[in-house]
Subunit: 154 residues, 10 copies
């Protein structure tokens, strides 16, 4: 039996239909079992896609999320479904990236969180967006995300 309390979850281990929009997606959380210990959890989502609000064309991004849990951990299956729910959602790169970060902050009330969104190039010039909730707490180890910079060809 796992140490983590999973009793409040509705999606993990069940067959869940893909949510049709970020609004419909249900992000779930579980109690963090190491209360009093400050550590970082990193999710890497190389499969993010949304829709350009001006042209209707698909956009793609590689997204990395780091956070220091307070009382809660995000449940990873619900996170996956939430990220998939942007598939038919239209938003500018800057908005979309910040919205994901803020939704997680609202859910988890973490001690600290940051999101890096590395968008595929449009017009030859990719956009990256980097946001964190503020200076991280002292004494916590937070490695660089280390995503390779875009280099064109050659």
């Amino acid at each position: 039996m796992p140490k983590t309390d999973v009793s409040g979850l509705t999606q993990l281990g069940a067959k869940v239909d893909a949510p049709a929009s970020p609004e419909e997606a249900v992000l779930e959380k579980v109690p963090a079992s190491h209360a009093g210990t400050d550590y970082v959890v990193r999710f890497t989502a190389p499969e993010f896609t949304s829709i350009c609000p001006m042209t209707g064309q698909p956009d793609f991004a590689h997204i990395v999320i780091d956070y220091i849990p307070g009382d809660w951990l995000v449940e990873s299956k619900s996170l996956k479904l939430y990220l998939h729910s942007f598939r038919n959602h239209g938003a500018f790169h800057e908005d979309c990236s910040i919205d994901i970060g803020k939704r997680l902050v609202d859910l988890l009330d973490p001690k600290w969180l940051r999101i890096g969104a590395y968008w595929y190039p449009r017009g030859g010039i990719p956009i990256d967006v980097f946001w964190q909730t503020g200076e991280p707490p002292e004494g916590v180890w937070i490695p660089d995300q280390g995503v390779a910079p875009y280099r064109g060809r050659g």
Copy 2:
């Protein structure tokens, strides 16, 4: 409908002739929708080219721009056209790199901005130029640009 107010734009979604010089290029901006949130936007432009003012030969650079928006975001299509406008413009590497950074500062009045310009080698020795408007504000996450150093051959 996008969250970002695009009503003031004249170029996005329209067919626009390439501007003939940096002076003629029209850089446009949109209101930033996450006022009060300090995040970094990165543009990577691996397709920059200008003219050497002494010899008339083309120069090339890989350019990366990071900024923390204040009230404004630069509109990305207008940025692309502005960068293309250096195609027939003559300037020294140091001047050209700093001029781009300052033009964006004038337009956006950002909380902070930096530009890294990685020029292709001339005479076997490439020049890089690195400028920022000053120490970035506390608590904002700004990853390294991570461009690979020049290594010649082998």
Copy 3:
């Protein structure tokens, strides 16, 4: 004859049966011979595997441990056997990673310790966990762990 006192060891140089669980594994230690000198010891364990507590499927991780010895060094063969003992153990990624770190802290009472656990992707999204016991002591050299970020394909 080695400088390090190995007289208290029961496993090194002997044939030892693999422990069946983390609880049964015997972590051993030897006196640190450079008392008064603060240095970092790093173990890299690319062969870690445990069991998902919800599905019974195997999980895999690449784990890196850094610590500054106090009076004790962990004996490396016993560490290897301890890590192997998770082979049939079920735990969430976050719990498992923190548990290993804390077990070593209990054993060694080090001046400082951190653990990075880089889990293989499930549902397309890998989880990393980063923990340290607090701000490292001043003047000790602790390089980045430098594990490459997950990138999907292409």
Copy 4:
């Protein structure tokens, strides 16, 4: 005025709605202007996504297509729209990859064509699919696709 005859195109330079399925997508072609010359054209599509027919979850792939034109070139904008049309299409990895290759063969009747589809991992194990129409003609230069193998973590 371009050397290539573009008079038969209906999508290039126009605003086109995204096709809802591969069947609805209109792949277009232009006459190849270097008749009698055997060369290879390579398209790299790192932004491919479809739907798993069993679970409804999104799948992702990095796709590379090489072909030797006969009388026709595929028009690249229509190819982009065709690939985007799989966004809500359900198919197994093997079927989907071969279907794309065969659709292009039907359109272009090329002298030779191959497709490499590098799918993101599911269950820890990615699938790649490699197909070509047969031994390439003698004396044509066809470089390796050179996509990095999947390596998990570490």
Copy 5:
């Protein structure tokens, strides 16, 4: 509804207990829908582990399998479970690698198959095993597996 006939499967989409040994594992197959087309399917399994028959210690390998289907495709979930079933199985590196290849040949009767097994070092010296059923058929495209060679440190 998928093009591929999945009616004969017993494990896909169901909860299946992990098989306790390779002998107990049930490898399943589906009819290949592109009969008459010779293409290559590649599985990459970076999470393989077995037991050393002499010492009882765990061994690890990165395994890549390429095959050209005849009438059948291996069902990927059953393949995953089969590979997991070596978790408590003792075998020499050479035997284990060849056994996996032969089991798949028996199941699928493919037109051609190869397996590359890249074992983690023991005693400082890793072993790789490379086997194929014979010269591949003419005109089929089979890229290199491209696994990076072992390099020790530095």
Copy 6:
């Protein structure tokens, strides 16, 4: 005094204005001094740029040319100026790449020549073009061009 006869050159060592178009560019050649020896000369031009004939926007490519000299070598400064002359020239990727190869074949009548043109992505999908004049002569060593494949982000 150099072994190579440079007496027929008009541009090398002189100040030459940049030619305004490929037609105006003067490609020059010098006698090859190792007649009877078949070797390969490779030029790598990472600074190629032309104009899209449909939109007037700049295009960029990384170009690599390999050839086996017959009686002539191309003079490298004139080659550089010729490549620069595409700066304001409009052409499709496929045409432009093949045209450069054929111009060199007309000039040099080489025993063999190939050109690889690696274009920067447009619409997320880069095009590469690979052409050679035919099967290279027996016994000549021609390494792969080895340009890294395009990978998007992450």
Copy 7:
């Protein structure tokens, strides 16, 4: 019980003193259990060291051995000890590399064998030695050794 017959071994699983020279080292073999199957076994030895016969200074090499077994496999622990036995042995790079290959051929009578020895630079110029017993048999898969070329600095 392992499938491979290990009854003739004297060193595996026993404590063995390091042999003082290649002549004293005992290379052992076991019967190959997949008779009639042609596959390749690769050993990678990044820890090879010998002595320069002219100066007495240590030399280092990264060595990779590939072979197709006939009736015998080399036992890996004895191979490790054999390679260690060159530690105080003086030989030129070319001789040393070929001697190792020939010793294995004498022991195993393999269907085919090759050795690549990648020596650390002396005087700025490293030597590599590549030998195989002849053209490999048809239809056997033998990947490149893929060792990175020496590049000096930068």
Copy 8:
């Protein structure tokens, strides 16, 4: 006409004989046009060579110089000629590296300067030298030089 005042230069745009020694080389400077703006200029010189003062053998280095201009920029052609002038100059690695840095400091009186000299290995062990004039001024952006560490072979 360039923004930068080049009226005081004697070498740029002229044919200049290679100086025979560092003492004879004439380093030139131009006024910096962005007075009041602190930015970094980086020169990368992968083609540096000098002579070992003990043996007369050539030495090689990859050199990277970063500085923050005060009133002056170094003119890049004169820098190239100055670096070339070490070709027949004998000096220890440490001296040579520091001498270059100090010469530039004397010329430019920069706000800050550093030099990294990455020497090719002699006796298997390369030397690197790193010097800066002191702590850089606050708020200036100075990326790592990022030169790959030496790794021998494998």
Copy 9:
């Protein structure tokens, strides 16, 4: 004549027998010619080998040493011979690494020194050791050692 005073050296330029142990090795020093200038000297030794004190088997390490000279530089040939003298010396990884660092500190009385020792894996788990004499002096530039982390296979 070199700027550096080499008059006190006994080994440089002479034929010297390899010392049989670290105790017998003679480490030599020369006066540092840039007194008052704080810079870093880095030695990279990818060819280090010693003996395991428990088993007599050879161990290998990649070692990097950084120091800020006070009045003395270590003479590089004597350093090479000193490192070679560990060839038949038995010591634990942690002891051996720290001993080298301390020996250099005793010899040179440097302003600061650090050593990174990256040991080849034993039992699948490599050990790294990192030590420095304390916080480096302000305003001195000390790049990361940047040695790639161990990654097993794949």
Copy 10:
């Protein structure tokens, strides 16, 4: 005593003045001790430099030489001195590269030889030269030289 007969050498183990030109350099050879065995010897010279015959400026190249010995091996110290002798020699890239290859062929009468010369860029465009004496003999293993292609910046 080495297996290789070194009795005819005049430079190895002696202090030799650097030859002033390729003509003055004395290339020496030793009898190959493995007569009847066809293997490849590779020399990698990342430190090659010569003089441009038109401008007097230094040129640099990374050079790799592969050969199959007949009766002779080139002595490596004499090869190093020969390559150093180009330091003040003026030649075009193509001539210089082929001359080195032919000089070795004259000396050694090898069964086969090739040379790859990878020159540093001039005018933004590097030249590579690849030559071999003809098709290599059957059954000899000759790996790719694998030098990374030039990529400019980014």
